[in-house]
């Protein structure tokens, strides 16, 4: 299994340390502490000099989020005030540009070393939003397209970094906002959807890719102005896709998460804006549930040690019962057996399964 064994870059190894190394480290710690003290005593000084000190400190420890807050206060002081949000300035202020670019560079350099630090992503977010009002729409577009490229590169090196996926959504939203002002630009939803397909094909176990897909589908359908038939097609295609994935690797949890999402869109309790097909009859629902349960049960012929299968069967069964209380597709005895297997395969969660049993009344 790849990717998630990547260790965070931290200080020197704690394994075998000579006295020399230890002394060196103590000196480093002392220097760091001095720097922290210095920055904190100058807390109320919003000057370029203190900005430089925070840069130094953050380069050593980007996780110290208080310092990022402090930095932002300094930047707010240094950045030109009184910019009206929606109207571009008469001309870009070079000093402001410098500041924004400087922080973009800082966060970029830090992201390469610490791709999963919340505070770095957050700050980059912040600086771009603040910078929005500084740039005119043409350079803003270039900036955001650049961000899309950056996040694409980060996802290329670690396709499962959820920070990057979340940032991607943020960037796409910004680009769409710019687009509404310049209608000639194309919507990104289709290409983003394609992007999730591509990521899944290269690695099925990509929680974030599946999640992003689920976020995009309602928008996709809206933009396509999909009628009932088109919506059903999308639903059927997604169910077929996940069916193939489940049949390929029933042990992968991310696939089951997406399956659960699809099941949730079938439920009568699903919020209208999240529905894929808007005109499902209970008969339709029964057919879908029956089909899902059928092929999942088939997998049990070859694979009896996979807990996700039993969990999914119980989940589908309870959905089925909601729309057809008297179904004969399965019996209470079946459900009890699945619950038993679930307890056997995942004994550490016994309490949870017993709870489930009580809820399902079996």
């Amino acid at each position: 299994m790849a990717s998630h064994g990547v260790a965070r870059v931290s200080g020197p190894n704690a394994s075998v340390r000579s006295e020399e190394l230890r002394q060196k480290e103590l000196k480093q710690i002392a220097a760091y502490k001095d720097l922290v003290d210095l920055v904190n005593t100058k807390e109320t000084q919003y000057t370029v000099e203190v900005l430089g000190l925070t840069t130094k400190l953050l380069n050593e420890n980007p996780e110290y989020y208080t310092i990022w807050n402090h930095r932002r206060r300094i930047l707010l002081t240094l950045l030109p005030t009184g910019l009206v949000q929606d109207s571009p300035p008469p001309k870009p202020d070079p000093a402001a540009l410098d500041i924004v670019n400087g922080d973009l560079q800082l966060t970029f350099a830090l992201l390469r070393k610490f791709p999963k630090c919340y505070w770095i992503w957050n700050h980059r977010n912040w600086i771009l939003e603040k910078g929005q009002s500084i740039f005119d729409s043409a350079s803003a577009l270039t900036l955001w397209l650049g961000e899309l490229q950056l996040v694409g590169k980060m996802l290329h090196s670690d396709s499962r970094n959820f920070h990057a996926w979340s940032y991607r959504r943020f960037v796409v939203a910004r680009l769409e906002l710019i687009r509404t002002r310049t209608p000639t630009q194309q919507s990104l939803t289709e290409s983003e959807f394609e992007y999730t397909t591509k990521m899944i094909k290269s690695n099925l176990s990509n929680f974030s890719a599946w999640h992003n897909r689920s976020q995009l589908i309602p928008r996709l359908l809206e933009e396509r102005v999909a009628d009932s038939a088109a919506r059903r097609k999308v639903l059927n295609d997604e169910l077929a896709l996940i069916c193939t994935a489940i049949n390929t690797d029933p042990f992968d949890q991310s696939i089951w998460f997406y399956h659960q999402y699809l099941m949730s869109t079938l439920s009568p309790q699903c919020a209208p804006q999240k529905m894929i097909v808007r005109d499902l009859s209970n008969l339709d629902r029964q057919k879908y549930y029956a089909h899902e349960m059928e092929y999942i049960r088939e997998i049990l012929d070859d694979e009896t040690e996979c807990k996700w299968i039993y969990e999914a069967l119980l989940c589908c069964a309870s959905c089925y019962l909601e729309v057809d209380g008297g179904t004969e597709a399965f019996t209470t005895l079946d459900m009890r057996e699945w619950l038993r297997e679930l307890k056997r395969l995942d004994p550490l969660r016994k309490g949870r399964w017993e709870d489930l049993g009580r809820r399902l009344d079996i």
Partner: protein, 521 residues
């Protein structure tokens, strides 16, 4: 040049095939006085690569003197051209570098690591091996009646490299996908699950697949293909198959997404032999081509005297020169009866055969090699009966990126663990079937076909050593489709014997001084 007669050496190495060349490389910093000879007037021995002219000379040379070479029954065919000015034709001789040993090297093979640590990697270029294909007859749903005697035509099915390939495969049904995935999960750490396969160790691999994984016979072909086993399925043991499949699957992604092995550019393993010999020469080794051991009846190697504990041998060379040396390394001159023989062929065709080389993955290098396997029983000769006993045919296809032929052409290296006319006929049939199964326009024409038989030989060893028994009994493995690391183990073993106590690290060198004139190209 001065005569070798009367010269004194620490070590004589006979033959510049891959094992001997790697040994020379390993010894290139040892300071030993090494004489390295080869009876051919080219480097590489059974791993050499030839231009068109060299192929012809090789054919003629072996016809004139069939003696101890592992090759025999060479035939070279150049189909007549209808109109020499129209249509594709062979390019000039040096545009080709046809490999006698077109092996692929798995990413996790220690050979690559050693080429790096010995610093010779800079003189070598490697290209990615892409897809593996299995020729399948199948019941062709669209055509033919069940009673047709000859199937309409086979098609090539790509062998999945892992989960995502299985996911995207359009041919396998769900049950097949699940069974295959179950096996792939097992093979990922099969060493930790001996209870699953211990009892099947020496039993045929197909029965292991059916019994332990419920994989139907129709699905055995891709897994057997990954073993690269030259034997028929019934004789491929589980013990033999599992490590090889694991080697293949564990190598995928090691250098980059989607591929797991590489081929050297410019002519298979010959490049490695040349680079190794060059390094040895830089270290003081003396090279003489066109010089072999004497074949006179009184024997070429004789113990001369002892210098303390070290025996000194007198060796007579082909033209009568007498040299003395402390040790001699070479191939034993006579193949054993039990060493298998293979039929092999090299075919140059006038097409890039693009369908065989789909892109590997985004950002992955372009593939230069594709492997096509014809499982036992998929090729039928009119005269043959009991086709299930026919061994599989392996074809390694190299496109022009490999530097072995000009642009617009490809080289097909085929082999089968069978000798004689039947072997050659199966090879011919496999090449025809392969070209027919591809949708390429204009249809590819054969520009050149070289066929030969190759005898497997016992591997290199210390000759005339103290004990009468050979130091090891294994066969040379230039017949394998993939480089086998055991070759390196043999080289290391000999190197340790030769170097004794102050051996140091095997194939680990520092860069020489910067004023050495080694080109990087």
């Amino acid at each position: 040049m001065e005569t070798l007669d009367g010269t004194e050496w620490d070590l004589l190495i006979v033959g510049t095939g891959l094992p001997q060349s790697l040994l020379a490389l390993a010894l290139s910093r040892s300071g030993k006085k090494i004489l390295h000879i080869d009876q051919n007037d080219y480097y590489g021995g059974p791993e050499a690569a030839f231009s068109l002219q060299e192929v012809e000379e090789w054919g003629k040379g072996l016809a004139d003197d069939p003696s101890s070479a592992p090759f025999s029954s060479i035939s070279i065919t150049k189909p007549e051209q209808v109109d020499p000015d129209e249509g594709p034709s062979l390019s000039f001789s040096r545009a080709y570098s046809l490999a006698l040993c077109p092996q692929l090297i798995y990413a996790r093979s220690t050979l690559l690591q050693h080429l790096v640590s010995s610093k010779v990697y800079r003189q070598l270029e490697f290209l990615a091996v892409g897809s593996f294909w299995v020729y399948s007859l199948g019941a062709d749903e669209t055509a033919g009646s069940p009673e047709a005697l000859t199937p309409v035509g086979g098609r090539l099915l790509r062998v999945p490299n892992g989960r995502e390939d299985v996911f995207q495969d359009q041919v396998l049904d769900f049950k097949a996908k699940r069974a295959l995935m179950k096996f792939l999960r097992f093979i990922a750490d099969y060493e930790e699950q001996p209870e699953v396969w211990e009892d099947h160790r020496n039993k045929p691999f197909p029965s292991f697949l059916t019994e332990q994984f419920k994989i139907p016979a129709s699905l055995h072909a891709p897994l057997l293909a990954l073993t690269l086993s030259p034997a028929v399925p019934a004789q491929t043991t589980t013990d033999h198959a599992l490590p090889r499949i694991a080697r293949h699957l564990r190598s995928i992604g090691f250098f980059g997404a989607g591929f797991g092995s590489v081929i050297p550019k410019w002519g298979g393993m010959s490049e490695i032999t040349q680079v190794a010999c060059r390094a040895s020469a830089v270290g003081g080794g003396v090279y003489v081509l066109g010089k072999g051991l004497s074949t006179t009846l009184d024997g070429s190697i004789n113990l001369d005297h002892q210098e303390g504990e070290t025996p000194i041998y007198k060796v007579r060379l082909k033209d009568g020169e007498l040299i003395t040396t402390g040790q001699i390394v070479g191939d034993p001159s006579h193949p054993r009866l039990e060493d298998p023989a293979y039929c092999r062929s090299i075919t140059v065709v006038s097409s890039t055969l693009d369908p065989l080389f789909p892109p590997i993955a985004e950002d992955a290098p372009s593939p230069a090699c594709a492997v096509v396997i014809f499982p036992s029983g998929t090729l039928k000769l009119d005269t043959a009966d009991g086709e299930a006993k026919v061994p599989p045919v392996y074809i390694s296809v190299h496109n022009s990126d490999a530097g072995e032929c000009p642009a617009g052409q490809s080289v097909l290296y085929a082999s089968i663990a069978l000798k004689g006319t039947a072997g050659f006929q199966y090879l011919k049939k496999s090449v025809e079937a392969l070209l027919l199964s591809l949708d390429v326009t204009p249809s590819p024409t054969t520009l050149l076909s070289v066929q030969y038989e190759q005898q497997s030989r016992p591997s290199m060893q210390l000759l005339a050593s103290e004990t009468d028994e050979p130091t090891n009994n294994s066969s040379s493995s230039s017949m394998d489709l993939a480089f086998d690391d055991s070759v390196l183990d043999q080289v290391k073993g000999l190197w340790q014997e030769i170097m004794g106590e102050d051996a140091g690290k095997f194939l680990v060198f520092e860069d020489r001084e910067a004023n050495m004139t080694e080109d990087d190209e």
